[in-house]
Symmetry: D2
Subunit: 215 residues, 4 copies
């Protein structure tokens, strides 16, 4: 509510200035000193956290590509962290969180869930209303990369987050996908250009949603 | 962005009028009696569409419970429609859409997917950025009710929507769930009170998110 | 099959030696011409049904590749049918059923579920204990092809079937996948060789399981 | 391997018959009175492993109920083990494995995946062709209990297993479910009778499939 209020207030002030609203009681109290529930919201960037685990570097490469997408959005900043390094402050500061995981036996590795479970047990880490997106890497065509996305989405919903995926357009068509994935086979040097682009689109999507939501 | 820009313009005009751009009356009105910035920002109601299919009436009962939850949010209005009756305008007008389905053989019935596919093929029906939630009914404890939720979420993401679920609190705990479900066994008269409450929470969640998002 | 067959041959020889099989008519018949133990156990052929829907021909190509895999198994026969053409007898006769579907908006198209729902409503069509496998086609990297596999698996379990996926080996490694998928983008002429091979492995897996299960 | 051993026995008998081992008696016995291949094949018990993790005791109670179901099948034996206590021999000996997990934040806890990942990395633990079933416990109606089943199924398929769920009948109807689940809310003393019965049906299903599959 406060963010919306803030936007309205700012707009109101701008409108007042524009139309030369120049007299009366209310004017004497400087706008800047009035409680502005949301002015606070406007004074900072959109912040996206990219949290990932990577063994061979492929998921790390996807994480960097997600970050590139965030940076495409004006006023958005991004923090990229391996899961183990994510702090409570990283989480608290984030408007959106992209979760990235390799695929181990058609699911996320235990090392990822260890961290996600820890976040869930710490009552100070409230993720309510933050926007979540997911990306994964793994071998094989139907080896569970998408199951990892779905599992990360389920986690996000259980933590009161909101889930979004990357957007695509081609010709007159427009669609979305569940997340971003990269198929990595032995000998591959990492995600290919199209896979990195899907990750970038995920980052752009998350930051864009916040940017439009934050007043 | 354009929607926000447009909305900002409306707010600007409203603000200009309120602040008496050009005259004194408005200024003398005490701040506390002025429309709150929030109300000002809402150039229109939050609108939630509840689209569902029901054979025995159970999913219909859940749909009505979702609608009750929407109505808990100030300034939110709700339209409840069987899938077959949903119009392109219903979809275009909705800020959020709750999708409700029975469970047939662990998935949504063909009759539901017929409509969802039709929405996807009609290029005029753009659901981008609308918030989606899901509810389902079905027999059995592990008969696929949750799989229906997941399938509806996947649909929503493919249509460029954003996914949210109902929120719960108990004591110091707070969590979310994937959606709302009701287990209906032969002889049951419909969803029980707790199941209806989960549907209501879903409706409240969707409307609440929109209310806070709409500038 | 070959491993079991080979082992059976060894056992056969050992048994013959142990029991002092030293003379008589049977001995003169070369082992290779005798009914193999496996074949003896099979009072009839292993029968696999490949049921699919295809719009552009890609899923049809995958269906044919599944059939190729079935034919790799000695004593296995295969029937390939579009969903609409599957009869109750096709289903009753099948020991295993491969279900193939395009991906529409991250799920199976309504046209596929129409048929699956019909099978479920017809009490004469009992699929209990038949082995199920799934394959899908679709655009995008995370557009729901795997979600279609999972949905088909859920259907199969709801119909009392048993679920299996294709097997792979590389070096000392051996793993399985959820099913077979093909990513089809505009301009593609259909599944590539590796995708067809995954479908073939699915067919081989299903027929192989039946061949070893049938007494 | 044990199945192969069973098959070898059958083959041995068949081979003996074919080569006329022992002379006349056996030959004169009508085929219908001879030991069926199936009976002959059951040279040993059907063995089911129930592997689970439990914090409050609810999943342990479900595990015991699964074991009860195994014992309903003649000639079936069951070993119940907490995940941490499962040995490589337990896995090697099992014809079927029931995997049971609590639900943590809509997925299996890290402590469960730690063990499942370990099984996957140890090349000596080959689960090919073993039958898998899943059960889970957790709070809430749509809190992820079914997602845990689906994740366990995906794991099983990635490990080359075959997936089955419990069977139900009512009147003229017969269906299957994805697995067995128990909803546990604060104050509950554990799974209720119907939930335990679903676990029992899962155990009966797994053992029954093996009993009929072993040649």
């Amino acid at each position: 509510m406060t963010r919306v209020a803030g936007k309205a207030l700012v707009v109101c002030v701008v409108a007042a200035l524009l139309c030369g609203c120049g007299g009366g009681e209310a004017d004497r109290e400087p706008a800047s000193q009035r409680p502005t529930p949301d002015a606070a919201a406007l004074d900072r960037e959109v912040r996206v956290l990219v949290a990932y685990a990577s063994v061979t570097g492929s998921t790390a490469a996807m994480a960097e590509a997600v970050a590139d997408g965030v940076r495409r959005v004006e006023g958005a900043s991004v923090v990229v962290r391996e899961f183990d390094a994510v702090t409570a402050d990283d989480l608290a500061d984030a408007d959106a969180i992209a979760l990235g995981s390799p695929t181990y036996f058609a699911g996320m590795p235990a090392t990822v869930k260890v961290v996600l479970d820890r976040w869930g047990r710490d009552p100070k880490i409230d993720l309510t209303d933050k926007i979540a997106g997911a990306f994964s890497t793994g071998g094989g065509r139907a080896g569970g990369k998408e199951s990892v996305l779905t599992a990360l989405h389920a986690y996000a919903l259980s933590r009161r987050m909101i889930v979004a995926g990357p957007l695509y357009e081609r010709g007159s068509g427009a669609w979305g996908e569940l997340g971003a994935t990269a198929r990595i086979e032995p000998g591959d040097e990492g995600p290919d250009a199209a896979e990195l682009e899907s990750a970038t689109r995920l980052g752009e999507r998350l930051a864009g949603l916040v940017a439009r939501r934050v007043p």
